[in-house]
Symmetry: C2
Subunit: 249 residues, 2 copies
């Protein structure tokens, strides 16, 4: 058996799946969906920047203090020498480099996928104050310490205070449900019975949404009990249907 030619850098946890972050799920779903052979290298938070610099991965943004911000996912394609950061750029790279494998973004939909992500991300943004603190509880010690320290600075509050509680929980959870409901209307625009965004086959927009459903199902089982009833069970059905692409190798 030959060695996989793609190295996927992911962030570990104590969840049963090890993989937990929605952005990392997006890339993992993408690699599995395309049926590419890859191996995972697990990188704790404090090691992300040194690891990225070592393999020549670009930063994905700039920190408040002006320094480059290195994030995962990153993939390293040993067969082409390419090192790609950022979920969207990875998906575009995989389609461009492996066009004979199932397309994440079918012909003509690359721009639509960017517009979808822009609009959908604004609608689901209330998810972070729920998912981030719950995920931190399951990180390994070095990541847990790093994540708490850096996120408490960027959010300006403790992770415990970040989690919506009481009336704020009711309001924010409803806002999240309204966002998912709006996105469900887009899913239904092509046909009310459609499970997938484009109809017959899943595309990257499906994997993208499912990554958030996966995140809540792992990190907040009680909230997931509610979310899985939303929109006629839409998100639970989608998660189940894409289970075949959730393999962690």
């Amino acid at each position: 058996m030959t060695e996989p030619s793609i190295v996927f850098y992911d962030i570990p946890s104590n969840f049963s799946t090890n993989c937990w972050s929605p952005n990392l799920w997006k890339t993992r779903y993408a690699l599995n969906f395309k049926g590419l052979s890859y191996k995972t290298v697990w990188v704790e938070y404090p090691d992300i920047e040194p690891q990225c610099k070592k393999i020549g991965a670009d930063p994905t943004s700039t920190k408040a203090d002006g320094r480059p911000h290195y994030t995962l996912p990153v993939i390293q394609d040993l067969s082409t020498g390419a090192v790609i950061s950022d979920t969207t750029r990875i998906a575009q790279y995989l389609d461009a480099t492996y066009p004979d494998k199932p397309l994440l973004m079918p012909a003509g939909t690359a721009g639509f996928h960017l517009a979808f992500q822009e609009a959908a991300h604004a609608l689901i943004s209330p998810i972070y104050p729920y998912g981030l603190p719950a995920s931190q509880l399951k990180m390994n010690p070095s990541s847990a310490e790093y994540f708490r320290r850096t996120r408490e600075i960027s959010w300006g509050k403790s992770l415990e205070d970040l989690t919506p509680k009481g009336d704020l929980d009711v309001a924010e959870w409803k806002k999240l449900k309204d966002g998912f409901t709006k996105i469900d209307e887009w899913f239904q625009a092509g046909g009310k019975e459609n499970l997938y965004f484009m109809g017959e086959k899943p595309c990257y927009a499906d994997l993208w949404m499912t990554s958030y459903a996966m995140w809540i199902s792992l990190s907040l089982p009680d909230k997931w009990e509610d979310m899985k009833t939303w929109n006629g069970g839409k998100w639970a059905k989608l998660l189940k249907s894409l289970e075949q692409y959730a393999t962690v190798v």
Copy 2:
């Protein structure tokens, strides 16, 4: 020659094209793109609500005081009896009813078109304080009076004060350019040389964007001189290329 079976209700003006509103251009481009035979009935603002009620057109939203808000475009398809309001619903109706004509939203992209409009509309929203006052100056008297009265209430200021001036003009016009530039990135995602959003052929997203370019080119020639240089001349090229679908009948 048979009588056209689609009646298109549009709002007149003193612009050379008569048609002026970006939402009306969307539907006009759509009808021409599909090659459907239609006739225009021109309706002044004070007559929109009575006309809609007369033909059984649904309101498209609710006013601040709770009353239904009737808007154009509306189409009346005499061959099916359907009366449809709202640009997006009209485009969906035309594709569903006339699937053998060129598709505005090609198979699998109905949901993507909704996401595109959601994201793009947020990015181009600085356009209204420019286009609305300039358009009012070219309306016929009854529309001009109605439009000024109702819009000055909804915007909470005179149309003259609505138009950005001085530093605000610089800031808002830049915000609009940034929005168009972001959308241009989506256009380029499928290929840097692509003129059309999905590549080879125009789709409703192209007609949608061009409707705003058309609006500025008609109502604010000085601003258009600047806008047509944006993004390598993208919007001028798109407007020119879709000229064949801008026929006003």
